[in-house]
């Protein structure tokens, strides 16, 4: 077997996947082969350490699954790292089935041990963590920002184009973009999260002002987005929302239930402000203030603004 494959329709994510790929290359001594959707992306990946980049063009990402499988099969790939977007997961599982390979979803760390791929991941809606051992050939999906991209490589990889037989069975109709104001809270370095402790939508201003002095974005719990509609769904952090790991996470008026905390528990420092000292958030935080957020926030904003 020879080949550590890397694929994501999101070029930035594909670049990040090269980091674990290059790491696995040290253990497996096999070339890193990236799949790209166009020449421009191919050039980026070739310069970040991919030994070879194969360009597969197609209108529908999921429709490329057969072609990706062909590439992997021909090269006798030992590992396939796929970006853990929804499209990526679809493609990865499809290819895994065709390769008769095992697949680990949303791996957080990877290494080779005794000729197998060892991955760490989360189970039971965040309740548990485990190590999953996959025989080779193995497929793994990895979510965005799990790894940083590697530095520019000394040598640039080879780029080639392959012919793709498009899957004509599926007709793509309307595609409507849904990215809103363009604020991606998952990239924010600091976050202020608001919960149901706030009484009115206008009161979120207190959180925004704190965010301004901290240079933090404002995020929220599920209730604030889905029930109150005070903030768009993209700002909701939790088990079925966004996962973030900023340097600082300030939870204000947030009770701290596990379905929310699983989305932010990898933050470096968690601070809580809540008027109920029995609230579970204090067990999940590094520092907490028991007090009325309406009193605490303005004072905190003033104190940190100096």
């Amino acid at each position: 077997m020879a080949g550590i494959f890397v694929f994501s329709e999101d070029c930035a994510l594909a670049g990040q996947l090269l980091t674990p790929a290059l790491d696995l290359k040290k253990s497996l001594a096999q070339p890193v082969i990236a799949i790209a959707l166009n020449e421009a992306d191919a050039k980026v990946l070739a310069s970040l350490g991919a030994d070879k980049v194969v360009v597969l063009a197609g209108k529908w990402v999921e429709g490329l699954a057969d072609a990706i499988y062909s590439q992997a099969k021909t090269a006798e790939a030992s590992v396939l790292l796929v970006g853990g977007t929804l499209r990526g997961k679809h493609v990865a599982a499809y290819v895994a089935a065709k390769l008769n390979a095992g697949m680990t979803t949303d791996a957080k760390a990877l290494r080779i041990e005794v000729g197998k791929l060892l991955a760490s991941r989360v189970l039971y809606a965040g309740l548990a963590v485990c190590e999953e051992e996959v025989t080779l050939p193995a497929v793994a999906t990895i979510r965005a920002r799990t790894f940083l991209p590697p530095p520019a490589a000394a040598t640039v990889g080879v780029i080639e184009t392959a012919v793709v037989e498009s899957d004509t069975r599926v007709t793509i109709g309307e595609v409507t973009s849904t990215s809103s104001e363009g604020i991606d809270i998952t990239t924010a370095n600091k976050l202020v999260a608001v919960g149901r402790g706030f009484r009115e939508k206008e009161d979120l201003k207190l959180a925004e002002e704190l965010g301004a002095v901290l240079k933090a974005e404002v995020a929220c719990t599920r209730g604030v987005a889905e029930d109150y509609h005070w903030l768009p769904i993209e700002r909701y952090i939790g088990i079925s929302g966004q996962t973030v790991k900023p340097e600082l996470y300030v939870a204000v008026g947030v009770s701290g239930q596990v379905q929310h905390m699983v989305g932010c528990r990898e933050s470096k420092v968690i601070v809580a402000v809540n008027n109920d000292e029995r609230s579970p958030i204090f067990e999940a935080a590094d520092y907490g203030i028991v007090g009325d957020l309406y009193e605490v926030l303005p004072l905190l904003t003033a104190a940190l603004g100096n």
Binding site: L123, D292, L304
Partner: protein
């Protein structure tokens, strides 16, 4: 008049699972069984399709012997018949084995226009079953669907992805995975609950599926499962003066290099 098959998983309710404080191992002895949450949406969606278009819904599940406990629950929610595979191999089965078994069973059970799954199981959330089934059966796969309609042979679905919403059409047969937002499963009436015992269920034996031993051998194995426990400093400032608390917090944040 679509003929639908819903694949569902009988899982442990993760809410009942406790973490042992000494070694962080998981105690699921008190965990009750449930149909995996997203699979409930799949069953409901199939039931709604058939209520609208006519046709029929069958259910299929692969699990250990305990899968029998799921049959009446599943049959009370719309399907007319439940097929089940209760085998010890399910204990260690990974997504690869699960798909092999389900695909073999589907080939045996006959022609279906739509094969529905939840987008992932509520316990392990591998999110692999639907695309794997599609690959093995040679059908197209529409994943992460939040809206579904059928018109004769033509299946139209709306997929909700991170940055866009995509409408796709395909001719059946097709494998579909649904998002939880696609519907809100109705609570069956008592009449449906009691009527479930009158509906047929059929065991499918693994030995009759023509699988090779390596098809039942998992390629991914879970080692060392541990409860996740938040390890945080848990410093709480609760002086009577808010100003005092804030002063202390400021010192702490500074020590962390955050202000």
């Amino acid at each position: 008049m679509p003929k639908c098959l819903v694949c569902y998983k009988w899982t442990l309710d993760e809410q009942d699972i406790k973490i042992e404080p000494e070694d962080l191992s998981l105690d699921s002895s008190r965990a009750k069984g449930k149909i995996s949450d997203f699979d409930r949406n799949a069953i409901e969606e199939a039931a709604l399709l058939v209520e609208k278009n006519g046709g029929a819904v069958d259910a299929l599940s692969y699990g250990t012997a305990s899968v029998k406990q799921s049959l009446k629950d599943a049959l009370s929610r719309g399907p007319g018949k439940a097929f089940w595979i209760g085998d010890a191999s399910a204990e260690a089965a990974d997504a690869c084995v699960t798909a092999n078994v389900l695909a073999a069973a589907i080939r045996k059970l006959g022609q279906y226009d739509l094969i529905l799954c939840g987008e992932g199981s509520s316990d392990l959330y591998n999110q692999q079953t639907a695309p794997r089934l599609a690959a093995l059966l040679g059908f197209p796969c529409l994943s992460f669907v939040n809206k579904l309609s059928v018109d004769g042979e033509v299946v139209t679905a709306t997929r909700k992805l991170e940055d866009c919403v995509e409408t796709v059409t395909v001719k059946s047969p097709v494998v579909i995975s649904v998002l939880s937002e696609i519907n809100k499963p109705r609570i069956p009436s008592l009449k449906q609950v009691l009527g479930a015992s009158k509906k047929p269920n059929e065991e499918v034996k693994i030995a009759d599926l023509g699988l090779k031993p390596e098809d039942l051998h998992p390629k991914a194995m879970r080692k060392s499962v541990k409860g996740f426990v938040m390890q945080r400093k848990n410093v709480v400032y609760k002086e009577s003066s808010a100003a005092d608390n804030i002063a202390k917090l400021k010192v702490s944040l500074a020590s962390e290099g955050l202000c």
